[in-house]
């Protein structure tokens, strides 16, 4: 599909437009948020703790008296980075493994796919917990853990599109004309296998943010005092009655960002790859 057409189709797709709008706003906030923040997100003011939302603190303060609005603004950057890096970590090896597996088949395929099956035998969150336990809890390690967990998903998707592409005539023709494996894979198969990967990666960013938040809930994610939304939300669960705003705002922020990724991903799928319907 010509690129221009994709763009114009995306523009006409309502869910893609709304999703893109949300992502753009979040991105903007990530870029200029720190300038908008009225307070330092890291400096506690324990005597002002758990203040409700109001004109002084728009979103109220947390249990250490920090301004939640400022923390949510700063946290935007972290959440976006979590989404991007985690997906990048699953994407690169996942794509490579899927390409190799699908293209060469045989024992390479068996080996890679059995390995992926082994990873898939773990429930996702459990594998993530496992990996963070090994690496130690920290934000980068959270991203690595979430990234590794989803490698098999990408490998499978790429493998299946490679399998169908491989059978298509043009690839076989190139192979007969004496293209090297690397060239065929890189220049011919990969570009054609991209649409489902792009769609899955977009949706995957939302999943990654949620998974990271779940790890934060278990105390394995971002380290204090970093204003990561999942960790803030998880801190707020203690104050559900006393100060519901502590959890409400970071929770809403997560919901919004993930919603943005999901909407955009849905739209992309409709435009790029209508056959990829299962989420």
């Amino acid at each position: 599909m010509p690129r221009l057409e994709i763009v114009s189709n995306l523009g006409r797709n309502r869910s893609a437009t709304v999703g893109l709008l949300i992502i753009a706003v979040v991105l903007l906030v990530a870029l200029i948020g720190p300038r908008l923040a009225p307070y330092d997100p890291l400096v506690p003011a324990p005597l002002d703790r758990l203040k409700g939302p109001g004109p002084v603190h728009y979103f109220g303060t947390d249990s250490l008296g920090r301004d939640i609005f400022s923390r949510v603004l700063y946290g935007t950057r972290i959440s976006l980075v979590i989404g991007l890096i985690s997906v990048a970590i699953s994407l690169a090896p996942g794509t490579l493994l899927g390409l190799l597996s699908g293209y060469f088949g045989g024992w390479v395929d068996s080996l890679i796919m059995r390995g992926m099956d082994m990873l898939l035998a773990f429930p996702a969150i459990l594998l993530a917990i496992f990996i963070t336990a090994i690496l130690g809890p920290s934000l980068p390690n959270t991203m690595i853990a979430v990234g590794i967990v989803y490698i098999p998903h990408y490998a499978r998707i790429v493998r299946s599109s490679v399998l169908s592409l491989k059978e298509q005539l043009f690839v076989q023709a190139i192979a007969h004309l004496g293209g090297t494996h690397a060239r065929i894979l890189g220049a011919h198969i990969l570009p054609n296998a991209l649409p489902p990967i792009i769609v899955y990666a977009t949706l995957g960013m939302g999943t990654a943010v949620l998974q990271a938040a779940a790890l934060g809930f278990l105390g394995l994610g971002a380290q204090p005092p970093q204003p990561e939304w999942g960790a803030m939300l998880s801190e707020g669960r203690q104050y559900i009655q006393l100060a519901p705003h502590v959890a409400a705002f970071p929770g809403a922020a997560i919901l919004l960002l993930v919603l943005g990724f999901n909407l955009f991903g849905d739209g992309l799928r409709d435009v790029l790859d209508p056959s990829l319907r299962s989420r």
Binding site: D117, A121, L126, I134, R237, I240, L255, S278
Partner: protein, 336 residues
């Protein structure tokens, strides 16, 4: 289904289980911090640590530890929990049933509501219901589920105490365990009141756990139905004079099932994972919580046992999904 196919699947499963057992074994040992230290906590003395390590066999080399482990597994012994001293099999059994009860309930809710919402949305495409339910579905997959669980508890168990907030059944209503599924056990015992009580206990955690799969099922059902409703055979069914309900349920839905079943299978796996958080929030005595506690407590045998159980469950689910395919679609034949 040919026997050779099943036996090949079983062989596959064995291979994966072997791989998983090595993987888990190694990963567990890669985690810093040793079980003895955790057992003794902050009050441990070095000599006590050393003694406990010897007693637990932790001073032996990894290959020997693994060999011992593998041997005992082949004997059907999954080892003893470091923390409780009880056989891991016993520890897992009860909790597994609790998790299965919760997951099945969640699956039931997700499937039922998801399919109903998906079908109505597809039939009434672009209606208020369609937009509403699809928006809700999107929210559902975008929401941190532990947050949802806490809000549900706060709203429906504390603020407006309609439903119990924790546990599997009210105190004193327990029925003798036959299946280990409380709802079924109370039914078997003929205690309808107790069964109702157990169902009420199940409702909040199951709904929480069901949120994501329900949303996914609704979305996939809708898109699959939309595709099927445009098929010629649906028009044929209408041209035969069949009622709209028969057309949709018998002719369209049946064909739309295939992708739904795939997604359901994938989701059962998701549910097992989601149970980790849900069980914590709702104090549900299940395997998800147990495996995390065991991991945090470096209860090697317990974690190894749990993961193997998970792997077997996943394989079983996949097998059932494949069988369902064959049942649902006569065009699919298994190639052995």
């Amino acid at each position: 289904m040919p026997l050779s196919y099943i036996s090949r699947r079983l062989f596959h499963l064995l291979l994966i289980l072997l791989g998983v057992s090595v993987l888990v074994f190694l990963m567990l040992r890669m985690i810093p911090g040793d079980p003895a230290q955790l057992l003794l906590g902050e009050y441990a003395r070095p000599e006590e640590l050393a003694r406990l390590r010897t007693q637990l066999g932790l001073d032996r080399s990894y290959p020997i530890q693994y060999g011992i482990y593998l041997q005992s597994i082949l004997r059907g012994d999954f080892g003893t929990s470091v923390r409780t001293g009880a056989p891991v099999v016993d520890e897992i059994g009860v909790r597994l049933l609790a998790t299965i009860e919760l997951s099945l309930a969640a699956m039931f809710i997700a499937t039922l509501l998801g399919i109903v919402a998906g079908v109505i949305s597809a039939v009434k495409q672009y209606s208020v219901f369609d937009y509403g339910s699809m928006f809700l579905a999107l929210i559902g997959v975008s929401m941190p589920i532990f947050w949802l669980g806490l809000m549900l508890i706060y709203l429906l168990a504390v603020k407006f105490p309609i439903l119990p907030m924790m546990g599997r059944i009210s105190m004193g209503l327990e029925a003798p365990a036959v299946t280990g599924l409380v709802v079924v056990d109370t039914l078997i015992a003929g205690q309808l009141g107790a069964c109702g009580d157990a169902l009420r206990h199940l409702l909040l955690p199951a709904c929480t756990l069901a949120t994501i799969p329900m949303a996914i099922v609704a979305r996939i059902t809708r898109s699959s139905m939309l595709e099927v409703l445009n098929q010629d055979y649906v028009r044929t069914a209408r041209a035969k004079g069949l009622g709209e309900a028969v057309v949709i349920l018998r002719h369209a839905l049946r064909n739309a099932f295939l992708p739904v079943v795939t997604v359901l299978g994938l989701n059962l796996g998701l549910l097992l994972g989601g149970a980790v958080l849900t069980e914590t929030i709702f104090s549900w005595p299940g395997l998800g919580r147990y495996v995390v506690d065991s991991l945090m407590g470096r209860d090697y045998a317990a974690v190894q046992g749990c993961i193997l159980i998970f792997a077997v469950l996943m394989a079983l689910i996949n097998l059932i999904v494949d069988l369902l395919y064959v049942l649902l679609d006569p065009r699919i034949r298994v190639h052995a």
